[in-house]
Amino acid sequence: MKLKPPITLAWTRFTSCSGCQLMLLNCESSLAELAQVVALREFPLATSTECKDEEIDVGLVEGSITTPSELERLLALRRKVNLLVAVGACALTGGVNSLVRGERRQAMTEVYAGQADEWNTFPPQGIEHFVKVDGQIPGCPPEQGELLNSIGALLHGGWPGHQVMPVCMECRINENPCLLERDCAPCLGPITLAGCNARCPSLGVPCEGCRGVVAEANRDELRRLFITAGLTEQDIRHRLERFGEAP
C-alpha cells in the first residue's frame, strides 16, 4: 500500500525511557524535511497534544505494556492505525523492563513500600503479545538511520529489507579485531541481529545484544565460547536475557 504524503503519524509511548523517541528528535538536520512528508499527530517529548484523529496512517509504538490502562490505549491505537510499528527493545520484547524476577507484587512493595497497592500492574511485555504488529525497528535505542529509512520506506509503500546476518559479520567487514578471541570478552555479536554497523565492537566495547537475537543463531557455540572465556552459567543467562533471549 502506497501512502500519499503527508502521511499522518502518531508516536505513542508506553513504559519506556523515552530513548527511542529521543533518537528521532535527535535527527535535528532531518526534522525539517521530515515535517514536509509526515504530519506528526502525537509526539510526547516535543508536544503533548494527544491525537484525536479517528484514522492514522502509521502508529509508532515505544515502550512495553505494564498496566491495564496501557493495554486499553494500545488496543484503541491498533483500531485506528493502518500500520503499527514496534520501535525499540521495550516494544519488541519488553526490554530491560521485563528483567524483574519473581513475585512482582513483592518487588513493588520493596521499591514503593506502602504505596504498592496504588499501582495495578503486570509483568512488562512487548506489544506483539496483544496486537498484530506490521513492522519492527529493533535496538535499545534504535539507530537513527534505521528510523529515518523505515519512515522513508513507508512513504514509498514498502518496508526496509530485514537484516539476516549477525553483528559479527559487520565486524568482519569493518576488519575489527574479535573481542571474544582477543580479550575473552562476553561479546554477543555472534548471535545478535546486525544493522548497527557493529557500533560497539568497532569501538572496542563488547556487544550487549541490544538489537535482539538473529534467526538461526548458533547459541551452543556461543555458550561454549563464553564458558571458555570464564563466564558462569548464570552470567551467561543474565547476559542473554537482557534483550529478550529466554534462558
Binding site: 535535528e28 516535543a46 528483567l99 513493588m108 513500600a113
Partner: protein
C-alpha cells in the same frame, strides 16, 4: 470546594499531574503527582553481577542516561576501592557535560521558549523558522555530538565501563568538536538573553527549599563524595539517607519523613547558590525570579559548561592516547558503595550493596526530581496564593512545575503524593 486538574502536564519529561483544590475561591491545597508506570530498576538489578548494573540503570531515562551510568559506575568503583585513570576521568566529565548541554538546551529551547513566545510547542516555532529556536536545536545537537564522540552512542553511552573507559576518541573528532565549541562560546551571550529577562516570567515568591548539591570542586563534582547544603554544611554522600529521609514508609507520610534540614531544592539554581564559580552575574538579582530563576541558572550554566568543555577538549588534544584508560580489578570485593553526581537536573545518588561474589544485594537510587517533588507543591501554593482566575491558576501551576525541569521517568523510583496546604 472546587478541584482543578492539570493532566497531563505539558512539556515536561514523562507523565505528571497537578491538582489544585480551591476553597472560597482561593487556593487551599496543591497535589503534584508523578504518574509514570513503575519500572522497578532498584529491584531488577538485585542478584545480577555488579558490572551489569550500569548498563541496566542507564535505561531509567534517555535524557539522563549518561548521568545514571556514570553515577552507578562511581558508586560501584567506590565500593571496590578503585580509582579510574585520570584520562578516563576527563572523558567521563566530558560525557557528563555533553549531557548537561543537551538537557539544558532541550529544556530551555524546546520546553521553556514556547512559553516565552506564547506558542503551544517548539514545532510551531520551527515551522516559523524562528532563529532562536533553530539555534537552540543546533546547540542541543552539539551536546549530542559530544556524547556520541565520547560515549559511543547519543543515548545509553557504551564507552564508560567499570574501572574507566573503553576507548579514546579519534583526534579528528576532537578537533571538529573544539572548532564548533568556539562558535558556541562566541554566540552564546547573545543567544541566552531571552532567558534572562525578568519580564518574561510570571511574578514569583522567594524560592522554597534548602539548596543541596554535591560538594562542588573545580571538576564537575563527578567524584561527589560529599553533599553540600545550606550555609557550607558538608556531609559524606553515604549519609544521604539520614539527610533526605528518603524512603517511603508504611507508617509515615512524605511530610514526616523529610530530613531535619529539608525540604531541599536541587538543580541548576541550587548549584548557582552553592558554588562560587557558578554564581549568577546579572543586573537583576536572581531572587526576583523566584523558581523561574532556575531557567536563568541553566542559561548561565551553559555558558560555564562551554568554557569547561574547552579546557577538557584541550586536555584530550595534548593527551597521549596510549595512556591507560581502565583499571582492572584483581579481586571482587563485597561492600557498600554510594556516589553522588550533579545530573543536569540536580543531585543524583546511587547506592549499592554487593556480596562477596560480586552480586548486587540491594540498590537505592535517588533522583533530582524525587528530591524537588517535595518543594514543588509548596512553591505553587506560595506563588499562586492570591490568584483567583482558574485558567491562570492552571497555567501558572504548570509553568512552576516546568521551571524545575522535572524528569518524571527518572523520578518514579519514589512515587508518592505531595500535599501542601
Amino acid at each position: 470546594m472546587t478541584r482543578l486538574v492539570v493532566d497531563p502536564l505539558t512539556r515536561v519529561e514523562g507523565h505528571g499531574r497537578v491538582e489544585l483544590l480551591l476553597k472560597e475561591g482561593g487556593l487551599h491545597e496543591v497535589k503534584v503527582r508523578l504518574l509514570e508506570s513503575p519500572r522497578l530498576f532498584e529491584s531488577l538489578v538485585v542478584g545480577r553481577r555488579y558490572d551489569e548494573v550500569p548498563d541496566l540503570v542507564c535505561r531509567i531515562c534517555a535524557i539522563c542516561s549518561a548521568a545514571h551510568k556514570l553515577t552507578a559506575l562511581q558508586a560501584l568503583e567506590n565500593l571496590m576501592a578503585i580509582r579510574v585513570p585520570p584520562l578516563a576521568a576527563t572523558l567521563r566529565e566530558l560525557l557528563l557535560l555533553g549531557g548537561h548541554l543537551q538537557s539544558h538546551a532541550l529544556h530551555l529551547f524546546c520546553l521553556i521558549l514556547p512559553d516565552l513566545c506564547d506558542t503551544p510547542d517548539l514545532l510551531v516555532l520551527l515551522q516559523r523558522k524562528d532563529p532562536l529556536a533553530e539555534a537552540g536545536i543546533k546547540l542541543k545537537a552539539f551536546g549530542n555530538r559530544l556524547q556520541e564522540v565520547v560515549g559511543g552512542r547519543v543515548v545509553h553511552p557504551v564507552n564508560p565501563v567499570f574501572g574507566g573507559v573503553s576507548y579514546f576518541p579519534c583526534r579528528q573528532d576532537i578537533e571538529t568538536l573544539l572548532k564548533e565549541l568556539l562558535h558556541w562560546q562566541t554566540c552564546w551571550p547573545d543567544l541566552c538573553t531571552q532567558f534572562l529577562q525578568l519580564g518574561n516570567y510570571p511574578e514569583a515568591r522567594p524560592v522554597i527549599g534548602n539548596a543541596l548539591a554535591t560538594g562542588l570542586q573545580e571538576s564537575f563534582a563527578l567524584n561527589g563524595e560529599s553533599l553540600f547544603y545550606g550555609k557550607e554544611q558538608l556531609i559524606s554522600s553515604s549519609g544521604y539517607k539520614e539527610l533526605l529521609g528518603e524512603r517511603a514508609r508504611e507508617d509515615s507520610h512524605a511530610k514526616d519523613s523529610n530530613g531535619q534540614s529539608g525540604p531541599f531544592l536541587t538543580g541548576a539554581l541550587a548549584r548557582a547558590r552553592l558554588a562560587a564559580d557558578r554564581k549568577l552575574r546579572f543586573d537583576t538579582p536572581a531572587e526576583a525570579f523566584g523558581i523561574h530563576g532556575n531557567n536563568l541558572a541553566q542559561a548561565s550554566e551553559i555558558g560555564w559548561t562551554l568554557q569547561r568543555l574547552g579546557q577538557l577538549l584541550e586536555i584530550l588534544l595534548e593527551a597521549d592516547p596510549a595512556e591507560p584508560l581502565r583499571k582492572t580489578l584483581k579481586q571482587v570485593n563485597g561492600g557498600v558503595g554510594t556516589a553522588a553526581t550533579e545530573a543536569p537536573r540536580g543531585l543524583l545518588i546511587h547506592h549499592y550493596v554487593v556480596d562477596e561474589w560480586g552480586k548486587v544485594v540491594a540498590a537505592d537510587i535517588v533522583t533530582p526530581t524525587a528530591i524537588n517533588q517535595r518543594v514543588m507543591a509548596a512553591q505553587i501554593m506560595a506563588d499562586l496564593a492570591d490568584e483567583k482566575d482558574h485558567e491562570r491558576l492552571c497555567k501558572g501551576a504548570e509553568r512552576i512545575v516546568r521551571a524545575y525541569d522535572p524528569c518524571i521517568s527518572c523520578a518514579v523510583h519514589l512515587v508518592r503524593v505531595e500535599h501542601s496546604s
